[in-house]
């Protein structure tokens, strides 16, 4: 092997990841974000520190003193919001998001049982991977993030036939639907689906995502909108919930996903 003695590799490469790393701990960063109420804070910390084995007893204890909806919104969801901020700041990463979301869902399931009539979601969202496409890891991550943001996610899985997708949209009436594709030959399902939905008078945004899909493609057919990365999807969902249609999402896309 050639000797590299005396070589200055800073002239060859720069480790931006090391130079730019955030050195604060999750505890330090979360201190100011957690709820001030002691009971809600305790619940939020279960999510923040991904304690999926103990969140159950903590929520059950909290239910003796606070109402279930408040525990969900001010404890479990508040904890998840802290997690999202830590993720945005590169203190937390994907595994923490997944485990925190799992913890939150366990807690919500327990608290929801005590809400008369159940908890109202922000809206229903249908997600699927395109017909012929077996790749669904991106969809699964996005589903966790959208569900964590309070939406009822119907995950149809991968390799979903177009007819099945259309039937599910007609049945569930979601506020929007998303599809992922990793192959250029499967992403062609999205314009076909959009066309059928439009013919049926269903004008919901149809989000195109996945490795093969780019913004130009997703915007090339009516109803089509784009999400480049999973964390952008809840941001776009929020605007749809506020009443933005697919045309306005396209127009304001850069502003909506700014920073993600």
């Amino acid at each position: 092997m050639l000797s590299c003695e005396g070589a200055d590799f800073t002239k060859v490469l720069k480790r931006y990841d090391i130079e730019q790393q955030v050195v604060l701990s999750p505890e330090e960063m979360a201190r100011k974000m957690l709820p001030s109420d002691e009971i809600f804070r305790k619940v939020a910390e279960e999510v923040l520190y991904m304690r999926f084995r103990t969140v159950g007893p903590v929520v059950m204890e909290a239910l003796k003193q606070r109402n279930p909806l408040d525990i969900i919104n001010n404890g479990l969801v508040a904890g998840m919001e802290c997690v999202a901020k830590l993720y945005a700041e590169h203190v937390y990463y994907l595994p923490e998001i997944m485990m925190a979301a799992k913890t939150m869902e366990i807690g919500i399931a327990l608290a929801e049982k005590q809400v008369p009539g159940g908890r109202e979601s922000k809206g229903t969202v249908i997600m699927h991977a395109a017909e012929g496409d077996p790749h669904d890891i991106g969809k699964n991550i996005a589903a966790v993030m959208v569900r964590s943001s309070g939406y009822n996610v119907i995950d149809m899985g991968r390799d979903v036939p177009i007819v099945d997708f259309i039937a599910k949209v007609e049945e569930e009436k979601p506020i929007f639907a998303s599809g992922t594709a990793l192959m250029t030959t499967t992403m062609s399902a999205f314009p076909t689906e959009a066309k059928i939905l439009k013919e049926k008078g269903i004008e919901i945004p149809l989000m195109g995502c996945g490795g093969a899909v780019n913004r130009e493609f997703a915007n090339s057919y009516d109803l089509g909108i784009y999400s480049e990365k999973a964390p952008q999807t809840p941001l776009i969902a929020e605007k749809i919930r506020q009443g933005y249609d697919w045309k306005r999402i396209r127009e304001e896309w850069d502003e909506i996903v700014k920073g993600e």
Binding site: D17, Q20, L94, T185
Partner: protein, 466 residues
């Protein structure tokens, strides 16, 4: 096909490994000799969306446009060798779509070989559409018959003129997806290192038989569906959805799985996207295909130069067919890999191949943890611990993971390799978890089944005949 596990190394030392030379070269196609003293560019492409809807259009796209464009460019620029790789789109699991393409490419290669003397051939990479929830073994998937279709595709490819049969099998993917998104190295070890190796052995024994009876070469596989997912999610310098130390360890584990195809009768070269190539080549001595800096049309990685260090085929990964200023996209990217291969071959002719190898390697050695474990000296060390317990699918995969963790920790402690605090935390956690595992495979499997049966979606041991 009989299975022969590797229990020793093909190379006596890491320094013996260099691009263009494999201990066991392979010949096929029209004059191609892989690993026989020179590097061959391997061009890969995807048809334009919509062409897959009609057999005639698809054949025209692959044969009259893509294949002809590539071979014309070989003549124009003066490249003596080229391998074409056709990664079948999913619709090509129907013979009416795939057979004319395979046959047409073969005819076109023959024409250019006869007319101009271009050495050429095709790798046909068939799609593995099997889904863990429906079943990975024949007879299990009543909804799609994907396992049956996988073997049918192998027959179609080989019967119609494939020179090299390859595949990116998905065994263990359900565990890999869970492991990568949840940062669970034990799930990766169980799913990819152990179960994935069982599946790959099952699939490649059959592929090797099909290839043999059709006078085709069974090439090899990759852990694209596992370690590459980890690598891409770890991303560039500032992405890190997955920690790069996690990704680096998954790469080492994946080598134990990729090796299984060669142990089950495949001859090489394996697939370009298998970044674990240097490790498996060190063990088996079979030629490997790699991709790096000249595959920017498809993706970015942090070892673009380094990964060329021991390659026998140099690939662009994939590019969609479309026009560029310099010709069609396949012509442009073929130019890129062709000239890089020419540089490597010039180094060989001037007896400077080890110098160029080391230049490639040093360029990226400390760019990230994955590059560090793939540097040929480290890859060789990982190969040794795989071969040391080569007959034990679990233990060899565990060895590989632990050795990679050790190499990274040692690199960090010696200040050769920089790590972020999070990368180091993750690495230490991986080291602790892998170190705590038993050496006995049965004990590990019992533990893993209990641990993952309720957490990993689509968990089904029948997929692995367990």
């Amino acid at each position: 096909m009989a299975v022969t596990r590797y229990t020793s190394m093909a190379y006596d030392s890491a320094d013996d490994m260099v691009f263009g030379f494999a201990k066991k070269p392979v010949s096929y196609g029209f004059g191609l000799k892989i690993g026989a003293g020179y590097v061959i560019p391997e061009i890969n492409y995807a048809p334009r969306p919509g062409t897959e809807k009609d057999p005639a259009k698809l054949r025209k796209e692959y044969v009259d446009y893509i294949t002809k464009d590539v071979l014309d460019r070989a003549v124009t620029v003066g490249f003596p060798n080229v391998q074409l790789e056709t990664e079948w789109v999913s619709q090509m699991n129907q013979a009416k779509l795939s057979a004319p393409v395979v046959e047409g490419q073969k005819e076109m290669c023959e024409k250019y070989h006869e007319e101009y003397g271009v050495n050429c051939g095709t790798r046909q990479t068939i799609p593995d559409q099997r889904e863990a929830d429906h079943g990975l073994r024949t007879g299990m998937d009543a909804a799609h018959q994907y396992p049956e279709k996988l073997f049918e595709c192998a027959e179609i490819a080989c019967e119609n003129g494939a020179d090299n049969l390859s595949c990116e099998t998905v065994g263990g993917k359900e565990f890999a997806d869970y492991a990568v998104t949840n940062g669970d190295i034990i799930a990766f070890l169980f799913g990819v290192g152990y179960l994935g190796s069982i599946d790959m052995t099952y699939v490649w024994q059959e592929f090797s038989e099909i290839a043999k009876k059709n006078m085709c070469v069974a090439g090899g596989d990759t852990n694209c569906s596992g370690a590459n997912v980890a690598m891409f999610m770890a991303g560039g310098m500032m992405d890190q959805d997955v920690q790069k130390t996690f990704s680096a360890v998954t790469r080492a584990i994946s080598a134990a799985r990729t090796l299984a195809a060669w142990e089950s009768g495949a001859m090489g070269p394996d697939k370009d996207c298998g970044y674990e190539g240097p490790i498996v080549k060190a063990i088996a001595g079979k030629p490997c295909a790699q991709e790096g800096k000249n595959c920017q049309c498809a993706h970015c990685d942090l070892q673009g130069n380094l990964i060329a260090q021991c390659c026998d085929l140099w690939s662009n990964e994939s590019v969609e067919y479309h026009p560029e200023f310099g010709g069609s996209s396949v012509q442009c990217w073929f130019g890129s890999i062709g000239y890089e291969s020419a540089l490597m071959n010039t180094a060989i002719q001037l007896k400077q191949e080890k110098t160029l190898r080391d230049l490639y390697m040093y360029t990226d050695r400390t760019r990230g943890p994955e590059a560090y474990v793939l540097a040929y000296d480290h890859a060789y060390e990982i190969g040794k611990v795989i071969a040391q317990d080569g007959n034990d699918l679990y233990l060899r995969a565990k060895n590989a993971g632990l050795k990679a963790a050790y190499i990274l920790l040692k690199g960090y402690e010696s200040k050769e390799l920089g790590l972020t605090a999070k990368q180091l935390d993750t690495l230490q956690d991986i080291n602790k978890k892998l170190s705590a595992l038993p050496d006995d495979a049965d004990k590990f499997v019992d533990y893993a089944i209990k641990e993952f049966k309720d957490t990993v979606p689509n968990f089904n041991m029948k997929n692995y005949d367990l």
